[in-house]
Each structure stands twice: as C-alpha cells, then as structure tokens.
Symmetry: C2
C-alpha cells in the first residue's frame, strides 16, 4: 500500500508546487478539487471530469450519509466504485454542512444531532461517527470533524467554537487510528482573529495530522479579510504538510490563496455557475443568459480547448440555456472545470519556473481587459 | 455534391436492409433517428449520440422556428454547425407539432396560424414557409408539410385532412424546387382506412418524392391497428425509395415495423424515458426509480456495452435518479439510445443474413424471460 506523502518541488515566494502521493494516484499541487456532492460532479461524467485535469474529487459526508447512506455505499464497494472514480477522493467531515443545511440542529460537546433536510429523519454526527462514515466511504483524505460559525460572529462564539473543534480534532485523530494509505487532515479555525488562529494551529500541531486545512473562511468575511487571514495562517501550519483552503473559490480567490501558500482548494462554484448560465473565462465572467449572445457566432473563449469552446458558438450556448436544455449545464460545467484546472496548471508551471509574479500579473491584466464585445 | 440515393442490399420477407447516401454521409437502414428537438438530443453531447451508432438525427421545425428561429440558425451557418452534428439531419415539417403543441391554432387551406407555446407570439406555417424554414436550417431530408388528426377520428375528418395534406404535398414539392444533395419526403395519411391510405399513396406517387413516410400513426390507435396499416401501407409506396414511419416507437413497435418493410423511424421515447428513470433493455423495461434497486450491485444489463452498464450499478442509477442528479438522465438516455441502435444493428445483420425470423424470435423470447430478479 502506497503511503500518503507530500513532496514539495518548487517555491516562489510563499507559493508552493508539489505532489501528494496516495494509494490511488498522485495529486499535483496546487490542486483544485471539483465537488461531487452526492456521488456525482453535477452534469459531468467522471471521465470528463478527469479530462479537465482533475486529480482528486471532494465528496460530501453529510449528503452521502443521508442518501444513499454510508453503510450502503460500503456494501457496494465504496464511494470510488459507486461513482466510477478510481482516483483520490477527499471527504469533508459533515460538520460544516450539518450546520448550514440540516434542520433542528442541536450542538453539544458530544456532537450534533439533526434532522435530514431530505426526509426529516433523525441523525447524529460526532467525531467518531464522522470518521466511521468517511472510512465506510473509502475516502483517501479524511477531514477531522469540526464546527464553525458564519462570519461576522461574536469573538466569544468564534473562540468557543474553535476550542470545541480542537477537542473534536483530538477525538477524530483517536477514532481515525492508523490507516496506512489514508490521510487525516486537521482543520484550523479561529475566524479572522490572529490569536485564535494561532491557538488553533498549536492545538492541531500538538495532535499531529497528515495535512492541515484552513477552515472557517469563505463564510461571509470577504476576500480582503480572507487574504488577511491567509497572510499569517499558512505560516502557522507545518511547512512540510499540504495546506487546504476549504470551500474557495472564485478564480481570483484561488490565485490569491496559492500566492499565500495554499496547496489545495475545493468549490462548487464552477459546477453551480455552469448550471445557471455563468462561464468563468480568462477575461472574466460571461453570462450566457444575456440576450447580447443570441446571434454571436464566436466561441465563449477562442483560446480555450474545452468542448464548449471548441465546438459551439455563444449563440448556441445562449439558446440551450434559454431553452432549459441539459446540454447547457453539461457544456458550461465542463468549460468552468476546464478553466479552473487551467488556472491550476498555469500556477504550477509558473511556480516551477519561478515566474509566479509575472503569471499573476498577466492573469489580472487579461481579466481587466474584459470580455470581447459582440462582433 | 453527392446526390441523395437509396440502395437496397438485402431483403428478408418484407424487411429490407440498405444504405441511404446523402452529401453528409451514409445512413444504414433500417435506421433509428434520435430526436434533437431544439438543437440538442436532450442530455447527450453529439459525439456521444454518434457513439451509440446513430447515423442521422431528427430536428423539429416547430421548436426551432420559435426558438432560436430559422433565420437566426441560417445566419449562424445552419443547424448542423449550430448544434455540432455534421452528419445527416432530417427535419419534420412542423405540421404535426403545431397541431399538438401550439395555442390558438387556425387551420385553413393556406396553412396554419398559431401562437407560440413559449411566448404567445403569432406565427404562420404553410407548405411554402415550412420548405423555407427547412432550407434555412440546412436539413438533408426535408418533410412535406402535412396535417393529421389524432385517432380515433371521424372518417370524414380523416379523409378531409388527408386530402388537404396531399394538396399541401404538391405545394411542398413546388416550393422545395430542385436542391441537389437534399431530399424531400412525402407523407402518406389516411388513418387506419385502407382506401384512404391507397388514395394518399397514389397522390404522393403522382407528385414524386425522394422518400415516403407513413404518417398519422402512433397517435392513439394502438400497436395492433398500426401493424394492420403497415401490413398494406408499405406495399402502396414505391419499393425503391426509403419508407419512414414517423414517431415510432417502443422496441417491439420498431421490430414489427421493420418486419413490415419500414426503413426509417424516429421517437423521443429513449431520451424522454431516460430522463424519467426508465431503461429499455433486452429483457424489457427496468424502472430505476423502484426501491428494489437500492442495494443492487449488478449493472442494468450485464451484456450491454454502454457507459451506464459498463461502469455503474443499478444501486447507483437508482441513487442518482432519486437524488435528481443530471447524470441520471445522461446515463439512462445514453443507455436507451445505445440499446435502440443495437436493435437496429441486430436487425440489419439479421436481414443481410436472411435470418430475420430467428432474430425476431430471440428478441421476443429474451423480453419474455423478463428482468433478472435482484440478487
């Protein structure tokens, strides 16, 4: 069994480029993980997700435990086989989504009891149950069970929540045990308060994890505040372990995070936006819903090599969105995931060449030039 | 420019196997045409449709004239380029769908005026306008403009409607003109009345078309009545031209139609059913919505080579249907279209080998054996 490992190849300022090795294959970092919430990256076949350049997917413990159920997936051979993705999968702990999606949540020292948003059935998530579910799913990278408040929140609430998450991190580590080939990541909390972030990082380092996530960001604090936290939070985490920024983000969030030392990210944005007619391109966001595209024979992005850009006009993408056709979500999701992976590949190359600053300047200049006006 | 041609290679009883040649490629007959209503075979990318074995698609004049508009598609280079399908396309005339979908229809000798079911805008379809729209779309096989009542209908209504359609067929031919590389098909009407079918066939033969459709079936008369009409209707149409049965059907309808001399068919059934969790298999219909599949590790059909059967369990297909995930419609549509094309390929091979009766017996016996029970 290939043991989990992280090798850094290059640095450029705080930005890093490396390889995470797992028993199911390598992950090139910085890595963007498409989100396969309920056992599918929405509107995509797994082979197509791989074609965009993804090395790893994220699966959601909360969704999968409710439907179809972790024991059921285990009985069917695990999540990889179930969803036809044989490369690495990272699963979140369920903590964040219980607090944002479930009904009648009750938070105690033990964990969270709640009712399913799907059928109202009663469930409990604890550090121990989260570890069990992630084991049943067969996750390659398991996240410690945590809890975090939406920001802005009172300082005392943020501190209490962080300390509870640190106690849960310790219980997660104990429950995870020794599983060669599988990794457990701890999650730093503490909101936008430097002292709390430091206290959290110390607690996590004392427990010891295979990787460290920066949690509790992208929850309403804004990009400036997020970057402000990343400016010091990355340095608080072990240099030789992957750093994962959870739930981020827009293209410029991703670039700013990598610049500050983040190695992994995930976000529903490329797939969710793809289903609502929004395309991310080098030149910014293009909204295909807009009537100005109705007669536009040009591709979404002439330099993009994804199927949507290679074979279709903006007029077609506009038409199928307006007509509510599934191919609209299929093509735009593919494009968005392709573009996100292109950003990651561009950053990896730039870091390896010591040219991250130039790459970043070009990234922002191209966006600032804006979308080409209709012909 | 390759001229339209039809070459018959083999006969087995009334069943025929041949090749239709168009400027955009060959169509192996008997052929099943997936329906790409609004410029997309729902839930499929065109390359995937081709992978199922489809040589030709059907496009709907009614839908496309309303949205995005025939002139717009022409301005964008035609329907093939618009929807990224470079092989043959057959377009219907709009007549059938105006009568079934549009609001406030008014039928006169000239044509039909109606309001769009999408935005209430007022439109007119006449034989001349239908020919113009189908030319603007760039259709390879154009259908004469016709009208047909739902069955059962009064005899006098069926006769009047048929005679109007024959006058429209003549106007369609005149308006179509001489377009090398493009074909015009006439449509036989007459309901389930043999004398009316004969009168209609005579009228069409007198006008002269590149191919002949059997219209006005699959509109409520039932399979037995439909086969009863096909038993004589095919013989009324020129032997050396393709015969196209419009809007049919279920797998056993298709087999029965080919047995009676039909060369081409189209139906929304495989794609529509795919989106509602229904799979057509050698062993009959499997409804993935059914809870009995929730823990079933077996593929939908172990002998099928489509992506849904090759890579997924029934449990997964059940899960993603229940969760409302797009991949459900994507995989089941792919499977259904694959299976329909497999039926066509099986029939073509059987006819070529003079073994249609054996093939048909096996087809029915496999279905009768039923779906394998859950393990």
């Amino acid at each position: 069994m290939q043991r989990f490992a992280f090798n850094l190849h290059s640095r450029d300022g705080a930005a890093r480029c490396g390889t995470i090795t797992t028993s199911r294959g390598e992950i090139r970092t910085p890595a963007f993980m498409p989100v396969g919430t309920a056992g599918t990256v929405k509107a995509m076949l797994p082979g197509s997700v791989r074609e965009t350049g993804a090395d790893i997917l994220l699966g959601n413990t909360y969704h999968l435990m409710l439907r179809p159920g972790a024991e059921r997936i285990a009985g069917l051979g695990g999540l990889h086989r179930f969803m036809n993705w044989d490369r690495p999968i990272l699963t979140d702990s369920g903590g964040f989504q219980v607090m944002s999606l479930a009904d009648l949540r009750k938070l105690t020292e033990t964990g969270v009891t709640f009712r399913s948003h799907i059928d109202g059935s009663k469930h409990e998530l604890t550090p121990e149950r989260s570890m069990e579910i992630q084991r049943l799913l067969g996750s390659d990278i398991v996240m410690a069970f945590d809890e975090c408040p939406a920001l802005p929140a009172e300082g005392s609430r943020v501190a209490e929540s962080m300390r509870l998450s640190m106690r849960w991190a310790e219980r997660s580590k104990a429950a995870f045990g020794d599983r060669p080939g599988h990794a457990l990541f701890g999650i730093q909390q503490g909101g936008v308060t430097r002292e709390l972030r430091e206290e959290s990082a110390e607690a996590l380092r004392a427990i010891g994890f295979d990787g460290y996530a920066v949690g509790g960001l992208a929850v309403g604090e804004g990009q400036e505040a997020m970057f402000g936290v990343l400016d010091y939070a990355c340095d608080m985490l072990p240099d030789d372990r992957p750093r994962y920024l959870m739930g981020v983000g827009k293209p410029d969030d991703i670039v700013g995070a990598v610049k500050r030392g983040i190695d992994m990210m995930d976000c529903v944005l490329p797939s969710r936006s793809g289903r609502t007619g929004q395309a991310f391109t080098r030149r910014g966001v293009v909204n295909l819903k807009n009537a100005r595209h109705a007669d536009d024979p040009r591709p979404l992005d002439a330099e993009c090599t994804c199927p949507a850009c290679r074979s279709y006009s903006r007029a077609y993408l506009h038409h199928v969105f307006r007509a509510g056709e599934m191919i609209s979500g299929m093509l735009l999701t593919w494009h968005n995931l392709h573009y996100f992976q292109e950003i990651m590949a561009g950053m990896r190359k730039a870091i390896a060449e010591g040219a991250f600053a130039e790459w970043e300047a070009d990234f922002h200049a191209t966006r600032a030039a804006g979308d080409i006006e209709p012909a």
